[in-house]
């Protein structure tokens, strides 16, 4: 039975559609205390006085906690490998609040109404401080957002809180200034990207209880159960050995649940009261009090020869991490590390800048982190350069982009928070992707634009992208396989299925090695007591890193089986042929079924439990590649932009499950299109988020996303499980640049600040008209 490279439905899809209770809140103890969080109405303030007496006395209130109830232990909420490349700048509760929606106090009560009532009765006296609301004003401002003595970096990340810098970084290859000086054409321009919200359908949810062994059991909608366990232990100064974290089904994450959220509060309440507790964020809390994408400004300089050879790239980035520095450095570095190697033939590259604190909702991890922002800037700038050179943007890319077997010095210099790994790209079908995409969109007929009916103009645009596959030498995954009687298996993994289908594809991989059917590979995952370690679902690592761990564990199991099969048949291991069901000798004279063998191992002879375990840490991070092509229709009278078709040709190596891989790319494209065209982030003058619910923050509906055409290139990555690379993030990267390029090709309006709004497009069109009239 072939299991890999086969489109199978996800193993949990049916049960979930039938509505089986499977998500964190479905599994809360029915009598849990309900937790509500009192949140800051001010972007920046000191809590001068906080009085919880009246609130605590409300009948039904079990506890009210403020900063006074916690020791001052700074941690980071970023779910990353330890030591984290994020500053430890967050206390469970602090006497300063640094953004609207920041935590002031928590109440646990018998029911929601009581908790809400008590929240209103907490008396707080704030000393309201002047906030920093514009990230371009943050650096070296006289206002210092983080002035606490205890906060620190774990290793050098450029952390300078007195200057409002959460992290900083600089690198260069060659001498960019010199290179640009000698170029025929130099482009210098800037781009802005916004604080996109994840809008996973399930809000952040956590609950806790003390089990019969006196241990703290946390259920959490998280992407990183093992990091949650570690961070809770640090923050609450509670023994790691007494904490168990269970991740049930997760209703979407996209990076938003890579960071800690309500786990602090349910843990603190349950430890304090001994009673089960739960916390479900309101949608407003998800928007204001969790995390967003890092907004960034890019100052880009490109230099090229007049015959279209790109010689130098200079990128300076300012990134806004908001009130706390989760993923500040790593997101920033990815904006270079997963973008710049696309153009590996340049003489020199410079990349650097700062990540600054502001008094906005903190930024954190979000699918395609850094890469989508960097891709938007660079791939827009490349098209602008092509216009100056009067060269077709595809021809230019084909001349200058990375190809199979090549390398880039960036790989070695830049990793995620640390140095990178030298590698050449052994599997890279980018040339094919570009060529195939051009055919599928019918570039020849459609580039740059076609006039449509009345006021409509259609334009095409494109962009290329790359990602990585896990973080080499840092992020580890492991797997255990257990043989059961009757010859079926348990696959026990730390890997975190957040809807992307990792339980399914990891089971497929294990079943492939052991030549069994998928329904004989029973998956249990993401329980820190029962499953072996896995860093979690982030950095496009599960298929590649966890997948490799599963291959290794399954191969171990296979060896054990053959050993036991040989012993049982009284022959040498070399003589055994095992087809997944039957062990037999080459001459077919002796045989035993797996089912019989496993029954013997359980009950009759040489009784023992076969368990195979193995783990994997990457030694490289092979990038998936893709070419994205889009056809848009612009209404020149209203500025409305419609995506008519999106073509994605993706090289992710072997697709372990082509259907789930397709879903990953389609879903990521929709999020990228959303960020480009619809998802406006609006603040009021006081620093409050206006777009803090789903009536004001607009994600695309099924009427906006109507056509996509995703194809996978025939590709095989030697180092990956069955030739696979990652596919979780790559799909999100191209829409901003490709769509903006298409809009420019259609109507000559270059959008350099996201999102594209119909209003901005129309104003651009009207301005162009004015200019033309002036000339006449």
């Amino acid at each position: 039975m072939k299991n890999v490279n086969r489109g199978l439905p996800s193993i949990d899809g049916k049960g979930l559609m039938m509505g089986k209770p499977a998500y964190t809140d479905d599994l809360a103890e029915p009598n849990s205390l309900i937790i509500k969080v009192l949140r800051s109405p001010h972007p920046f303030a000191k809590i001068k006085k906080i009085d919880t007496k009246i609130a605590s006395e409300v009948n039904g209130v079990e506890c009210v906690l403020t900063y006074k109830d916690f020791s001052r232990i700074p941690v980071t909420r970023a779910g990353q490998g330890y030591p984290e490349p994020s500053p430890h700048d967050k206390f469970v509760l602090d006497n300063y609040v640094r953004h609207i929606g920041d935590e002031v106090a928590i109440v646990a009560a018998v029911d929601l109404i009581t908790a809400q009532k008590a929240i209103k009765l907490i008396e707080v006296e704030y000393e309201v401080l002047e906030p920093i609301l514009d990230f371009e004003d943050a650096y070296n401002n006289k206002i210092i957002i983080h002035d606490e003595p205890e906060i620190h970096e774990m290793f050098p990340i450029g952390f300078e809180p007195k200057k409002n810098i959460a992290a900083a970084y600089d690198m260069h290859v060659g001498n960019v200034d010199e290179t640009l000086k000698n170029c025929d054409v130099v482009l210098e321009t800037s781009f802005y990207s916004q604080a996109q919200a994840h809008v996973m359908m399930e809000p952040h949810t956590a609950n806790a209880r003390i089990d019969c062994y006196g241990r703290l059991v946390i259920y959490s909608s998280t992407q990183t159960p093992y990091h949650v366990r570690r961070i809770i232990s640090q923050a609450l100064d509670y023994p790691l050995s007494k904490i168990r974290v269970i991740k049930p089904r997760v209703g979407g994450g996209f990076g938003g649940k890579q960071c800690i959220h309500g786990e602090f509060f349910v843990s603190a309440v349950t430890l304090r009261t001994g009673k089960p507790s739960k916390l479900v964020y309101t949608r407003k809390e998800v928007f204001e009090s969790s995390f967003s994408r890092h907004p960034m400004r890019f100052d880009v300089k490109l230099g090229a020869t007049k015959d279209g050879i790109l010689k130098g790239i200079d990128v300076n980035v300012l990134s806004d991490t908001g009130a706390y520095g989760e993923h500040a450095l790593t997101v920033f570095m990815v904006a270079g590390a997963k973008v710049l190697p696309l153009y590996n033939k340049v003489d020199s590259v410079r990349f650097g800048g700062k990540v600054v604190y502001t008094n906005h909702t903190p930024a954190g991890a979000f699918r395609g982190y850094g890469a989508i922002q960097g891709n938007y800037a660079l791939e827009s700038a490349i098209d602008m350069m092509c216009e100056k050179l009067v060269i077709d943007p595809i021809t230019f890319r084909e001349k200058n982009m990375i190809k199979e077997g090549e390398t880039s010095p960036i790989f070695k210099i830049m990793g995620e928070g640390t140095e990178g790994i030298e590698m050449s790209v052994e599997s890279c079908k980018l040339e094919y992707c570009v060529k195939r995409g051009r055919e599928l969109i019918n570039w020849k007929e459609k580039y740059p634009f076609v006039k449509g009916k009345s006021s409509k103009v259609r334009g095409v645009g494109m962009a290329i992208a790359m990602q990585g596959s896990g973080i080499p030498y840092i992020d580890m995954a492991s797997a255990m396989i257990k043989l059961n009687d009757d010859g079926f298996y348990n696959l026990i993994i730390g890997a975190t299925d957040i809807g992307q289908g990792s339980d399914t594809i990891l089971a497929q991989i294990a079943a492939e090695v052991l030549e069994t059917d998928l329904d004989k590979m029973i998956v249990y995952s993401s329980d820190t007591d029962l499953a072996p370690f896995d860093c979690g679902a982030y950095a496009s690592s599960t298929t590649y890193v966890s997948g490799n761990a599963v291959v290794k564990a399954a191969k171990n199991m296979r060896k054990m089986l053959i050993k036991e099969g040989a012993r049982s048949l009284g022959v040498k291991e070399e003589e055994i042929i095992f087809d997944g069901k039957l062990f037999q000798t080459e001459d077919e004279k002796k045989s035993i079924t797996l089912s019989d063998l496993s029954n013997h191992l359980f009950y009759s002879e040489d009784q023992q439990q076969l368990v195979a375990t193995n783990s994997y840490v990457g030694t490289k991070s092979p990038p998936p590649f893709m070419a994205g092509y889009v056809e848009v229709e612009v209404d020149t009278e209203t500025g409305v932009v419609k995506v008519l078709d999106y073509i994605a040709v993706v090289d992710c190596g072997t697709t372990i499950n082509p259907l789930l891989a397709l879903g990953q790319v389609e879903g990521a494209l929709a999020q990228g299109i959303g960020m480009t065209l619809y998802e406006e982030v609006l603040y009021n003058q006081r620093g409050g988020l206006i777009s803090n619910n789903l009536m004001t923050y607009r994600i695309p509906t099924r009427k906006e996303i109507t056509n996509m055409n995703v194809e996978f290139a025939d590709s095989y990555e030697e180092s990956g499980p069955y030739g696979a690379k990652s596919v979780g993030e790559i799909g999100i990267d191209t829409p901003p640049a490709a769509i903006c390029n298409a809009i420019y090709n259609a109507v000559g309006v270059r959008i350099q600040s996201l999102p594209v709004t119909a209003e901005n497009v129309l104003m651009g069109i009207l301005k162009n008209k004015e200019k033309r009239n002036e000339k006449q």
Binding site: T638, Y678, E680, T696, R698, A758
Partner: protein
């Protein structure tokens, strides 16, 4: 929002008595938007038992009970062809089916919501409202008055005038509120133009309507001029969905398109 007492009344008299008994009494229509209110409602009055969720079609008019859901109006066969289905079309674009099965026409009209996609086409049709105490008044009169707060809207009466109508709205995503919406109506006797989501409530573009009434032929120039007059006479504002300037421009374009359609 907090409700202290909930009453499913059996007569309009009972409803009216409750409504006027306490300042914080309120008629509950669909109840969908209630949750955004910070008010405490002493007496919530539910008219569900009064058989007011019917669309009665007479020779002269559609009489729509106040408790009729938007979805009921939307799927009504006769309304689909009435004035090019202008009412159906405007409701079809309001958020999702899930909310249109809750929200009622009475709640939508009496709420006078600025974002309403339904009031704008109702304004270019001959729409009258039947109140429990005040009797029948025009929709326009109701929109311009604050006098009906303590009365109960019972029916929405839409005369079956013959003509062509067109509703056009502009939304950022399909389940969003309109950046702006416009409706135009034309028959031999009259032309009507209304603009809503300005972002305030819908208004008739009186000058533009007069301009068109004074023209015998409807050339491209006349249409453009009419649209331009409307965009200048209607007051616009800015909100998160669009600036005043953008709305002025959109108003001109959408009314032009609407007129092109009905004058075809």
């Amino acid at each position: 929002m907090k409700i202290n007492n909930y009453h499913k009344v059996n007569t309009l008299d009972e409803a009216y008595a409750l409504l006027t008994s306490d300042k914080s009494s309120s008629i509950i229509a669909g109840g969908a938007w209630l949750k955004f209110s910070k008010k405490t409602i002493e007496n919530a009055i539910d008219l569900s038992n009064l058989n007011l969720d019917q669309i009665v079609e007479t020779k002269e008019a559609f009489e729509i009970g106040c408790m009729t859901t938007l979805r009921q109006v939307e799927v009504n066969k006769s309304l689909m062809t009435f004035c090019n289905g202008v009412i159906t079309k405007s409701i079809n674009e309001i958020m999702g089916v899930q909310i249109r099965n809750i929200a009622t026409i009475g709640g939508t009209v009496s709420g006078k919501y600025g974002f309403s996609d339904l009031i704008t086409p109702l304004l270019v049709l001959d729409t009258k409202l039947q109140f429990y105490k005040n009797g029948i008044i025009t929709l326009e009169e109701f929109l311009n008055s604050k006098d009906f707060k303590n009365d109960i809207l019972v029916k929405i009466i839409i005369s079956k005038k013959i003509g062509k109508a067109k509703f056009i709205s502009m939304k950022k995503t399909s389940n969003d509120f309109s950046v702006i919406n416009t409706a135009v109506f034309k028959n031999k006797e009259e032309c009507k133009i209304a603009v809503g989501a300005r972002p305030n409530g819908a208004l008739l573009a009186i000058k533009a309507m007069e301009f068109l009434d004074n023209n015998k032929t409807y050339s491209e120039e006349v249409i453009n001029e009419c649209a331009s007059i409307a965009s200048k006479e209607i007051p616009f504002g800015s909100n998160i969905r669009g600036s005043k300037e953008y709305r002025i421009e959109l108003c001109r374009v959408l009314i032009k398109r609407g007129l092109q359609e009905v004058l075809k």
